[in-house]
Symmetry: C2
Subunit: 220 residues, 2 copies
């Protein structure tokens, strides 16, 4: 299955990958979350979709907020894995950074090594819903429970590459978290508020923009 993709165990009550019905909750849940959006998504509707009951889903996830956190965490787990594949056996640090930026800001592509089918859908969910998961009164508690470790470790790892390349650059973490968040934002804008972006210009302007920022901002 999804080898080596780790999701924090604080996010579920019972591991959904451990049973048939758990897996159905995940696959149908992803689909429904995409179709309805977080607000209209309910465990009742999901239960109907998988021909089960609310009570069963509640045995796996505390509530829909935790379910969303699970999906987002899963996504960043996939990205962590892809970052690893994109940087191992690459000797040049600058090339490692370039590859990392491609993974973080480029479009998912079924031909890349270690492709996981859910990535495309999960990315859409991250783009549309992750603000709702993060900007909550519970952030600080959830952060203490290690829920953002995947994300933080990605930022930290890539920021280390930045530090190696240009030790004088004062904002490595800010730069990387900015590029990650910006990529998702711009993809949303390009569909819904195209005046806020410049995506008609070329193949993948979001990724190109990211590489350009890195290239111009770092001295090496």
């Amino acid at each position: 299955m999804n080898i080596s993709i780790q999701v924090s165990s604080t996010l579920y009550l019972k591991d959904p990958t451990s049973s048939e019905i758990g897996l159905k909750i995940l696959t149908e849940g992803i689909q429904l979350m995409q179709d309805l959006g977080f607000e209209a998504f309910t465990f009742k509707k999901l239960a109907q979709n998988i021909h089960s009951t609310e009570a069963t889903i509640y045995r796996y996830f505390e509530n829909k907020h935790h379910f969303l956190l699970y999906l987002i965490n899963w996504y960043w787990g996939i990205i962590s894995y892809r970052l690893l594949l994109a940087t191992t056996n690459v000797t040049d640090t600058k090339q490692q950074l370039t590859n990392s930026i491609a993974v973080l800001t480029g479009l998912p592509d079924s031909s890349h090594p270690g492709y996981i089918a859910e990535e495309v859908q999960l990315k859409q969910i991250v783009i549309h819903e992750s603000g709702k998961a993060l900007h909550t009164k519970m952030v600080d508690d959830e952060n203490q429970n290690g829920i953002y470790l995947n994300y933080k470790s990605i930022v930290s790892t890539v920021a280390e590459l930045v530090k190696t390349i240009d030790p004088s650059f004062p904002y490595p973490e800010m730069l990387i978290s900015n590029l990650i968040e910006n990529a998702n934002h711009q993809r949303f804008f390009s569909v819904h508020l195209p005046r806020l972006t410049n995506t008609s210009t070329e193949q993948d302007a979001v990724e190109a923009f990211s590489h350009l920022i890195i290239q111009k901002v770092l001295q090496s």
Copy 2:
């Protein structure tokens, strides 16, 4: 009162600035939205706070989503006004851009010209809640109703400065919308997920980062 700050009339049923109780809805509403966050904020609670009833608030705003959109629109109206103040009578385009970036990414400061008391609170609401207002299935309809005009016009105006300074730069709108969104994101991170940012380094790292990006990325 708040002279020249325009909020789209599609956002309210009855202009809240036209009556005593409407103004109380706004001022207490801002406070309650900040205290509780969008999810826990209800018209019932707000009604209790202003010693009125739900029905009365519903005569001013269709629902809490529209109320939030109103507040966000108000914020961007204030920023539009401040951008105007920061660029009129400045002859050098580069200086206009620098001043604009300061307005868009810097911290609000009660000593700046045209300071409006609500700005600080509204900015907090924009930082914490605007994703929930934007990332909805209704974005496209709301965009057609002109709800994002204030925001789009800000991006467009500042992007024009970028085009004047460096006509060869291929992503002016993306650059500006990125810097705006990033500033709000980083301010959130610095409080809740400080490992994702670099804010302890100096006075206002977010603004400094923004100026650095502009300086490095544009040729002039």
